[in-house]
């Protein structure tokens, strides 16, 4: 230091040196970097600094309600709870310098649920609760951070996502709104004896498109909509004085008041209906129309689905793809979760596939044999994103090999046409040839069963790879019962074969989550993908593989990863807390992946799953790291369970 520098430095510090130094330290981290200086100074002046040697407990569940807000100044703190499967404890999270805890317990005025331990020699700043409460009242950034922290870190990200996605929408609505919070209009209803013309008059006067027919106790018996009226008149049912009960749709579809707008939208899309009754304890509470939903969401999901189902040409279907992209954009903006979005994409893709099949049959003529269109992989799991290729096959019933070959000959031209048409609609042809037009994937149920049995009995690397695709299967078009029989046979086969289960575990463990031992990301070292990691293969696949394996081994039939995790929790195969953590982590990675796709699509770039973690902000990085750690935990639990 030169003399002048030394003089320049001296005398600058009006604030006490140590307060100033600690403030400078905190300013490197959120939320402190957003706090006003005076508030930050208040925080530091009311702190104490405490040392914890490696292994020391900092706070424990039986300490009672948390009395301090902790900030790690130096070192590392880990959260520990009793291990689910063996004695001892396992680390559930890590808190590094500049990070704080235990927000949820502090705000909730309760004890912590996880023991916080010093993972190495650690200094923490402790702010007592009284000072924290005062600061909480005056500092907006701290309050935001704390409240968001309570409902998990992921909500913070969701907030960011919603802000980032098309801001002009500015809507406050969410697909998660409960139906009873939608201020449903008083339902228009009538008795079953009311003449049709009277009922229509009532509908006209009340400006509604539907009327619910109820008994004296308000139990819904049926629904009558303007569409029913159109159909009645078209069919020549012109007697408008007959009782409405003759023309109503019986047992109308209904949802409970605690279902969400999303549930309603999905039901309408799936069932091709425009009205959903809201029923509580058997009694009619309200009616939700497609129009209500549209004005609520500005997301015209139901309309889009209908347009797809009525498209007359492949080119129309292809054009609708861009609307699906826009829909996803809007849904991200409305705060839909990655699960909801993948679900919707899958649903719309299903509609597209069905329509393509119907159009192909119209064009080439009915092959004259019933067949089922199967899909595999992410489509089978209902986890499709916009970046998707075809994984499909055909199943039919045949008595013997000769008949199977004959039917195959008839179906293959149709299947190949469908594959080409799907490609024209934006479903990339599968590079591995997993497509119905391939004779090896156009099989009778017996042939499929034999093929799957081969996978289970002889675990070659090729077969194991096949399992990760084919075993997530679902019928999209045609009779579904054959597919269910196939699945049951498969599950029975796997449950008996522990050797196969073990080789599936080994296979599932080959893809390691990209976090290193020193708490940072492991990225590719060279090539075009240098400095990036693969969100799908490295991030999602461990969850997908782990959930599939456990589900198949325990007779769980569903294919969706999150659904599998939930059922595994319900069957007590994995612990509830673990299941919730896996689910959160999986959703976060998926969400990050979809945001990237949308972003790339908007810029006209090719969509990829590769991400440079250095492009993320501090918060996203931290959550992504935690999410990968959950994948590590899932893999560790598999290793333990199968004693590998």
């Amino acid at each position: 230091m030169s003399k002048t520098d030394a003089f320049a430095e001296a005398g600058k510090t009006a604030v006490l040196q140590n307060i100033h130094g600690t403030m400078e330290f905190l300013r490197k981290y959120p939320p402190f970097n957003q706090m006003e200086s005076a508030h930050l100074a208040f925080l530091v002046e009311h702190c104490q600094l405490r040392f914890y040697a490696a292994g020391d407990a900092i706070i424990k569940p039986d300490d009672g309600p948390v009395e301090h807000f902790y900030i790690v100044k130096q070192g590392r703190v880990c959260g520990e709870r009793p291990h689910s499967a063996r004695r001892g404890t396992e680390t559930t999270f890590e808190i590094a310098a500049g990070e704080c805890f235990p927000m949820a317990a502090l705000i909730g005025e309760r004890a912590t649920r996880t023991e916080h331990r010093a993972a190495e020699d650690t200094f923490c700043l402790l702010l007592d609760k009284t000072a924290f409460v005062r600061l909480f009242a005056i500092s907006g950034p701290l309050r935001d951070f704390a409240l968001r922290g309570v409902s998990s870190l992921l909500d913070q990200v969701n907030q960011q996502v919603q802000l980032r996605a098309v801001e002009s929408l500015g809507a406050q609505y969410s697909l998660n709104t409960r139906l009873d919070a939608l201020a449903l209009q008083r339902p228009v209803h009538c008795a079953r004896e009311l003449p049709v013309n009277q009922a229509v008059k009532t509908m006209h006067e009340q400006h509604v498109g539907s009327i619910v027919i109820v008994d004296d106790a308000l139990h819904p018996l049926g629904i009558f909509t303007l569409r029913d009226l159109r159909r009645a008149i078209a069919d020549g049912e012109c007697d408008l004085t007959q009782p409405i009960a003759n023309l109503m749709t019986e047992n109308p579809f209904h949802l409970p008041p605690d279902a969400t707008a999303f549930d309603a939208a999905m039901a309408m899309t799936e069932r091709h209906i425009a009205h959903v009754c809201v029923v509580e304890k058997g009694q009619l509470r309200g009616v939700l129309s497609e129009r209500d939903l549209f004005s609520l969401q500005r997301v015209d999901l139901v309309h889009l689905a209908r347009t797809i189902r009525n498209a007359g040409r492949i080119s129309t279907l292809a054009a609708l793809r861009s609307e699906i992209r826009q829909l996803v954009d809007n849904m991200l903006a409305h705060g839909a979760s990655s699960t909801q979005i993948t679900h919707i994409i899958t649903l719309l893709n299903d509609h597209t596939v069905c329509r393509v099949i119907e159009l192909a049959i119209e064009a080439l003529g009915d092959p004259g044999v019933p067949f089922t269109w199967l899909c595999f992989g992410s489509e089978g799991r209902r986890e499709q994103t916009l970046l998707t290729d075809q994984d499909n096959g055909i199943m039919f019933e045949a008595n013997d090999a000769a008949e199977a070959a004959m039917i195959r000959g008839r179906l293959l031209p149709l299947a190949q046409r469908i594959n080409q048409d799907l490609a024209a609609c934006g479903f990339t042809l599968c590079k591995g040839g997993i497509m119905a037009g391939n004779p090896e994937l156009c099989l009778s149920r017996q042939e499929w069963t034999r093929r799957f049995r081969g996978f289970v009995r002889e675990s070659t690397p090729e077969h194991l790879l096949g399992c990760t695709i084919y075993f997530d299967l679902r019928a999209v078009w045609g009779p579904a019962d054959g597919c269910e029989k196939l699945r049951l046979a498969l599950i029975a086969e796997i449950q008996e074969n522990s050797l196969f289960q073990r080789s599936m575990v080994e296979n599932a463990l080959r893809q390691r989550p990209p976090v290193g031992r020193f708490r940072d990301f492991v990225v590719a070292r060279k090539g075009a993908v240098k400095d990036t990691l693969d969100l799908k293969v490295q991030g999602l696949t461990p969850f997908v593989d782990g959930a599939r394996l456990l589900a198949l081994a325990h007779g769980i039939e569903t294919c969706n990863t999150l659904e599998r995790l939930r059922q595994l929790v319900a069957s007590r195969i994995i612990e509830e807390k673990d299941g919730a953590a896996y689910e959160e982590a999986y959703q976060f990675i998926q969400q990050m992946r979809m945001q990237q796709h949308q972003h790339q699509a908007r810029l006209g770039q090719p969509m990829t799953n590769r991400l440079d973690p250095d492009t993320l902000n501090h918060l996203d990085r931290r959550i992504l790291r935690e999410s990968f750690r959950q994948a590590q935990r899932l893999q560790a639990s598999l290793t333990l369970r199968y004693q590998l």
Binding site: A6, A10, Q17, E45, Q48, L49, A53
Partner: protein
């Protein structure tokens, strides 16, 4: 003893200052209670040089360890008014400009404030003997007050409680680096006091594990340790 040159240097105290001096609590004795129940003052002095007879205290920084933690609400930081200090080489170390010294507090006031801050707490410092003697001389000179507070030397506690390591020459910097501590501004009395206190917290944690969880037992062990060290040297 009658050293006129000492008396003539000090400015006479005002009645208020005399009253305050009279209210200062007496020196404490080391107690046998757990360290977590102690209030300890960790101090660091910046001086005009290293000569304990000639050089003077320029600034005082101190933090408090109470109930086992450093309490940010209790901090002492004062530059003393020392007019006419030459810009010597030590200015480059402590970094206190002559102009700053001229705007500093009147020494008697600063020292009264400091001793009120200390109260009857034992003192901790790195190379405590130097700070003890410098402070004692300043108190005697400015306040005619006799410092009797016990001092514990962190520079001795550290090697005694961590016998396996000998970081560098055992300076404050060496130990701070060994424990990977951040010093916000080295050679600033407050920042040095803070890092000394942080080292002390680590050492107390070690001491507890070694069964020496009170100032008396630490002092006892230090005495043995010093004897052995001296013996080792001879």
């Amino acid at each position: 003893m009658n050293w006129p040159w000492l008396k003539t240097r000090g400015t006479p105290l005002t009645p208020r200052q005399l009253e305050r001096r009279g209210q200062l609590p007496g020196a404490p004795a080391l107690e046998d209670r757990p360290l977590a129940e102690e209030r300890l003052v960790v101090l660091d002095l910046e001086t005009s040089g290293l000569n304990m007879r000639r050089d003077v205290v320029l600034s005082i920084g101190a933090v408090v360890i109470e109930r086992g933690a450093i309490d940010f609400a209790q901090q002492f930081e004062r530059t003393l008014n020392r007019p006419g200090q030459k810009v010597g080489p030590s200015v480059l170390i402590h970094g206190i400009a002559p102009s700053e010294l001229e705007t500093g507090s009147e020494p008697a006031e600063a020292l009264l404030d400091f001793m009120a801050f200390v109260g009857d707490s034992p003192l901790l410092a790195f190379h405590a003997e130097f700070d003890r003697r410098m402070l004692r001389r300043a108190l005697r000179h400015s306040l005619d007050y006799r410092l009797r507070h016990p001092f514990l030397d962190v520079a001795q506690l550290a090697p005694m409680l961590c016998p396996d390591v000998r970081p560098g020459k055992g300076t404050l910097d060496d130990w701070a680096r060994h424990f990977r501590l951040q010093v916000s501004q080295r050679h600033h009395a407050s920042a040095d006091a803070m890092v000394t206190a942080e080292i002390a917290l680590i050492l107390f944690s070690r001491a507890r594990r070694q069964g020496a969880d009170s100032l008396t037992s630490l002092a006892r062990r230090l005495e043995t340790w010093r004897r052995r060290e001296r013996g080792g040297l001879i």
